[in-house]
């Protein structure tokens, strides 16, 4: 190909991206890390950094965000407001332009998580019906003009206090972690510790309940999860009961099997201090990773054999996502790490990203 032709073609692609309103998301050789982050003064930002350290954007936002949801094909990402925020932010990931501050409707607030449907037209988020505090709602939004979400309808999440939601591999069926905790508008106070109802719900995106399963311990809040390409689903729990109780802080639902505890070593279970944060699965390498910020530990297991492969100190660890070769992990303090899981020995790499102040979750786009 002539150099001139190549350049022209490149120009066309850029033009398509800026004028036509749709574009190919350039699958960068260096992925873009998306996360909520603070500065030393406690201001909140939606940020994007390439893993080689280049800053793509850092956009000041009014409220603290939780998870980030990259669009499947457009250079967009939703930074979802953290409970009980009533705002989420639609960001252009090329330059950080804040395209829309999405307000939740009356008597609803965000819980911090959402998903884009695979066709790119629909966004779903977990929300609280504050007229019946804790009643889980799936907010349904439609993407308009590639820069704006409009609320269309809502469905129940068939549970209380929903938190993370993810697609099963068909891209049409949702898994919802109903944390089981009732909270009111403008508050994070837990109202029903004596009567929690955590559950894992599988539902169609039209709202139809497919299954609802519970772990035996009523105070074991199912909060975060990851889904492998074969449909294996792993959840991380936060236990609100006695610090000494031995409860399953990680659970797994393999295809066609019931939701059940994932076997943890006693040393690891204790070290977690009843609290898991982010969960990620590397589908090709069949690895499971979880951050435990109260224990200041980061773990990697073999998803199939459940063998523990890594138990590393990582103060105030936060988000984790599968990279091509392993996992990228962020932390509220210190540098982000990459754990290369290809070989027989996991290799720790320190990323040239700004240190610290990384909030709970991260995504690679």
């Amino acid at each position: 190909m002539q150099r001139r032709t190549f350049l022209a073609l490149g120009g066309l692609l850029v033009a398509a991206g800026t004028v036509g309103g749709w574009t190919l998301v350039q699958r960068q050789a260096t992925p873009l890390l998306l996360s909520a982050r603070d500065d030393a003064d406690g201001n909140h930002y939606a940020v994007g950094y390439y893993l080689d350290g280049r800053e793509a954007f850092s956009t000041r936002i009014a409220e603290r965000c939780h998870d980030v949801v990259p669009h499947p094909s457009l250079p967009l990402a939703m930074f979802v407001g953290r409970r009980p925020s009533r705002e989420s932010y639609l960001i252009d990931t090329r330059d950080g332009t804040l395209l829309q501050t999405l307000a939740s409707p009356a008597h609803r607030h965000f819980y911090g998580h959402g998903v884009f449907h695979q066709d790119g037209d629909w966004f779903y988020s977990t929300e609280n019906d504050t007229t019946d505090p804790g009643r889980g709602v799936l907010g349904v939004y439609r993407l308009q003009g590639n820069n704006r979400l409009e609320r269309v309808t809502e469905h129940p999440t068939h549970g209380v206090g929903p938190h993370q939601l993810l697609w099963l591999p068909d891209g049409e069926t949702l898994a919802v972690a109903n944390g089981g905790i009732r909270t009111e508008a403008d508050s994070r106070e837990m109202l029903n510790l004596d009567n929690m109802e955590p559950s894992l719900v599988i539902m169609d995106r039209d709202g139809t309940l497919i299954s609802k399963e519970q772990l035996p311990e009523q105070m074991n809040s199912v909060r975060h999860m990851a889904v492998a390409s074969d449909g294996t689903l792993v959840t991380g729990q936060q236990y609100e009961g006695d610090p000494e109780h031995a409860v399953p802080l990680v659970a797994i639902k393999r295809p066609g099997q019931p939701f059940q505890p994932f076997p943890l070593g006693e040393v690891q279970r204790r070290a977690m201090h009843q609290y898991t944060a982010s969960v990620a699965i590397h589908s090709e390498l069949r690895r499971l990773a979880i951050t435990a910020p109260r224990g200041n530990r980061f773990y990697i297991w073999d998803l199939d054999s459940t063998e523990l492969l890594l138990d590393a100190p990582l103060p105030d660890c936060a988000g984790v996502a599968a990279s091509r070769d392993g996992f990228v992990v962020s932390a509220g303090v210190g540098r982000c790490r990459h754990y290369d899981c290809r070989g027989s020995r996991i290799v720790t790499e320190y990323l040239e990203l700004p240190a610290g102040f990384w909030d709970n979750h991260l995504r690679l786009a």
Binding site: R294, N296, D311, C317, G334, G356
Partner: protein, 354 residues
């Protein structure tokens, strides 16, 4: 294969020109390790060795109760001095419970010691080592030596409790020497605090951050240890039995050992501690932190009665509340202004997740 300490460490884009031994954070991390942390862990292991010897000698009739009590107090003080220095193997393996059982809200120590000795009158070391943490540590040892219901002058009583004293002494000695060995291992904490990057720290800044965070969180812990008996979590009603080491009346001596050790981390053994990282623009902050330590020390020194007695009257409670406020100022200064001046994040995911 479980990798607790991945050996291979790669660094992406390592461009740390001039990052030699003289880099200030590297210098301070190494100096504190050699001048403050290792000496404290060594002193603890030594005090536990003497504790184990003392248990044997006391039970053989070669040591008085007073001497045995002094050995316990020395072991507890040296353990308390580790509180602001508890990073690495101690905190990560949940070992602290084996050394001290606090808070003991339900008097489990007394109940479990008695139940154990009723069921195992000829208690062996192995039985204690695999038993409950409640009876393995200094709190159980203190109960035996100081509880008014246990008259160790009576030989039958001494015979009942001696197997436990000896087993606790040995358990503590083994535990502290094991922790010290792990500090000194080839890839132990000492090495990791000396050269960077390693499998634990990306750079010296991370190591110093870990040191400051551990210290700040220990000072916060001291507030809780003083606040609980003061009734700060119980509507102002004093709870003398919620104090550490209330049976021996050593609560304040133990607190003082922890404060001293926190201050050593700040000053360094040779003026090479966290303080030395502050540049001249922060000299006023350094002076205020010096003054905050001096204030806490003076208030502690002025308390001439055990905590339990001070809790019993208004003047005592006022003095203790003033001490609490002093600790609180120290905590806030270091957690806020010092951390910021040093570019250290205390972190929020651990306390404020979702």
């Amino acid at each position: 294969m479980l990798q607790r300490t991945p050996l291979a460490v790669a660094v992406l884009g390592l461009l740390l020109a001039g990052c030699g031994a003289e880099e200030p954070y590297t210098r301070v991390s190494a100096a504190l390790t050699d001048g403050v942390l290792l000496p404290a862990y060594t002193a603890w292991a030594e005090a536990d060795r003497q504790l184990a010897d003392s248990a044997q000698a006391f039970c053989a009739g070669e040591q008085s109760l007073e001497q045995a009590r002094a050995s316990y107090l020395s072991a507890h003080r040296s353990w308390s001095a580790l509180q602001p220095l508890q990073l690495g193997p101690l905190s990560e393996n949940n070992l602290a419970w084996q050394v001290q059982f606090w808070p003991d809200k339900k008097n489990l120590v007394a109940r479990q010691v008695e139940a154990l000795l009723n069921s195992q009158p000829q208690l062996t070391q192995a039985e204690l080592d695999k038993g409950s943490v409640v009876v393995q540590g200094l709190t159980a040892y203190e109960y035996v030596l100081f509880d008014p219901n246990i008259d160790l002058g009576d030989s039958a009583v001494q015979q009942r409790y001696c197997p436990l004293l000896i087993a606790i002494g040995n358990h503590q000695q083994a535990l502290s020497s094991d922790v010290l060995a792990r500090w000194k291992d080839e890839d132990g904490m000492q090495a990791r605090l000396h050269s960077f990057p390693n499998d634990r720290y990306a750079d010296a800044q991370e190591a110093v951050s870990d040191l400051l965070r551990t210290q700040v969180s220990a000072i916060d812990g001291l507030k809780k240890k003083l606040g609980a008996p003061l009734g700060r979590q119980s509507k102002g009603v004093p709870q003398p039995y919620q104090a550490e080491a209330w049976r021996s009346g050593a609560s304040l001596a133990i607190l003082a050992a922890a404060v001293d050790s926190a201050e050593r981390l700040w000053q360094g053994a040779n003026q090479d501690g966290l303080r030395s990282l502050l540049n001249s623009e922060h000299s006023e902050l350094a002076t205020r932190i010096d003054a905050a330590y001096a204030d806490t020390r003076q208030r502690l020194g002025a308390l001439d009665q055990p905590l339990g007695q001070l809790l019993a009257d208004e003047a005592g409670r006022t003095a203790l509340n003033a001490l609490y406020d002093s600790l609180n100022r120290l905590h806030r200064l270091q957690e806020g202004e010092l951390a910021r001046a040093l570019g250290i994040q205390i972190g929020f995911n651990a306390h404020d997740g979702d």
